[in-house]
Symmetry: C2
Subunit: 330 residues, 2 copies
């Protein structure tokens, strides 16, 4: 399945997810709360996480599943958690823009946005427990807690200027891998997949998430703002140690290393000014190429266990998604 | 059971709750996250909510309950939710002090505190689902969502200068009553109480919560800062319409009404300056007395259904707590 087919599949399937979320949120009483929730959720996202839940459930049970509404409710849990984390992240980062649009906090201030995030967290977890019981809830809870722990680790890493690749992977696994893996595993779980299938899909989801984030980190240096909808250089300015830079620091000659370390120790304004210089140095030491290769290896590892599912359209979609994650430019 | 006996009972029982929370949070990896969580949780609170869960479970099952650890885990859910809401509220209100101590956000800034609140929400809900299944989780989810909705309603009420008593009760029911009622009902539920018992304890919890908040609102005018640990007049300055003021507005003669409305329309600084004037006017129209009587009636209503539980020590504690809530001065 090529990228174009895949994207058109996702576009069509996402309307079911959107309908389910609208129905679920119809009971919200406060009009302002509803407005903030809708703004945070219906933001043009691709609904990758809930769709993974749906695909992974179909991977096990095909279209035979008798529990369609339950599976859909479990799927939207992962979009709610994703949206909640974006809402709170933007408050935390004082972000004004996300993907070319004003952030909710820049429109309404922090109070309604923190509360809307709390509401989504609660709603997500209520749904997970109601539909999937204790096991689905445990998946969701662990992913949420991993996301929080990863934020703390990321802040400490930036403060300590910790360049270790191990640390980077730990952060990315928590921030991105955990939720994507949980979305996949929840789908297999709700469709009564085997333990082997759960382990296989978890590995796929974790590695897909890592690869997704590595490519995101590459795009933060090399992306075309017109395509990605965001400016380059944010990670450097915020002191985030991402894989291309970590690779360059490891390989750089002493003179270049000194330059990189000087920029990393500088204030945000200087970091921004010297972004092109850093980008050139990363490129000189093949930081982007080697990061991209690592992403490719991760995805390949993630695919290894999937033979325990029968060949079919869903498996093609998962493979197509893995290829898309590596090749995307936005 | 008089107030002194009651408080000494609560002091002793709270150490079990504290131990359970410490054990549960031992797996937190980030030291800063752990620090913020502990600061937010171990803040000298009386642990009323988790103790209500424990007492209500014992009310049904006595000490015979075989699921002691489960009941304790369910109890701490309600302290986590309470602590999470205080952490996020202080961020939202830019509060510098709580009960004479620095707030977490004034020590660490908003990022770690928002994240710590999210962590506690997630942990609370994971525990609720694991221990109490879908029904306990539904109690917890509804209470959390009610708290959020009430915050939105409160903000709108302040903005619209809505003086209605109905609105006031709706806000208080969401902000305070819902969680206390859920803590009570969860205890009866986990001990396999009947539907009649669940309804009776829910009514008790809701009304206890309302009365608790009404007395809190009275203390915000009449309290002794040395006893309560907080300054008077905050509600007026923040534009919060509380019961004593609502009662006074309803009864005031046209001249006094004009004065009250003038102050309510003024800025925060003027509100603060004219606090003594407002307090005198509320008193003139028996706003404090009538609010206190309403709190008394609510508590009496809350006690009416409790005859479906056998007479015993737990019932005495619930009655004692109801009396304490009315008579407390801090």
């Amino acid at each position: 399945m090529d990228n174009q087919e895949l994207m058109s599949f996702f576009r069509e399937a996402s309307s079911g997810v959107d309908r389910a979320m609208r129905a679920d949120l119809a009971s919200v009483e406060s009009s302002l709360l509803g407005e903030v929730l809708f703004y945070g959720i219906f933001n043009g996202g691709k609904r990758i996480r809930p769709q993974l839940t749906l695909i992974c459930a179909a991977l096990v049970a095909g279209d035979r599943g008798s529990n369609r509404q339950g599976i859909l409710d479990l799927a939207i849990v992962f979009e709610y958690l994703h949206a909640a984390s974006l809402l709170h992240d933007d408050v935390i980062d004082h972000a004004e823009q996300r993907r070319g649009k004003k952030t909710a906090n820049s429109i309404w201030g922090i109070s309604p946005v923190i509360l809307a995030g709390d509401y989504l967290l609660s709603r997500a977890m209520s749904l997970a427990c109601a539909v999937g019981g204790g096991e689905a809830m445990a998946l969701v809870g662990r992913a949420t807690e991993a996301m929080v722990e990863a934020e703390f680790l990321q802040a400490r890493t930036a403060e300590e200027k910790n360049y270790s690749e191990k640390n980077y992977y730990k952060i990315v696994a928590g921030k991105t891998g955990a939720l994507i893996a949980a979305a996949c595993e929840a789908g297999v779980y709700i469709a009564a997949g085997s333990q082997e299938q759960r382990a296989a899909i978890k590995l796929y989801g974790e590695n897909l998430g890592l690869a997704f984030q590595i490519v995101d980190d590459i795009l933060d240096y090399q992306g075309d703002p017109v395509r990605t909808g965001k400016a380059v250089g944010n990670d450097l300015v915020e002191g985030k140690m991402t894989l291309p830079l970590i690779h360059a620091l490891r390989s750089a000659g002493s003179e270049d290393l000194a330059v990189l370390e000087e920029v990393l120790a500088a204030d945000a304004g200087e970091k921004k000014d010297r972004f092109p210089e850093v980008k050139t140095l990363i490129d000189k030491y093949d930081g982007f190429g080697s990061a991209r290769r690592e992403a490719g290896e991760l995805v390949a590892t993630g695919l290894t266990g999937l033979h325990c599912f029968g060949e079919g359209r869903e498996l093609q979609i998962l493979r197509g998604l893995a290829a898309y994650v590596l090749s995307r430019d936005k």
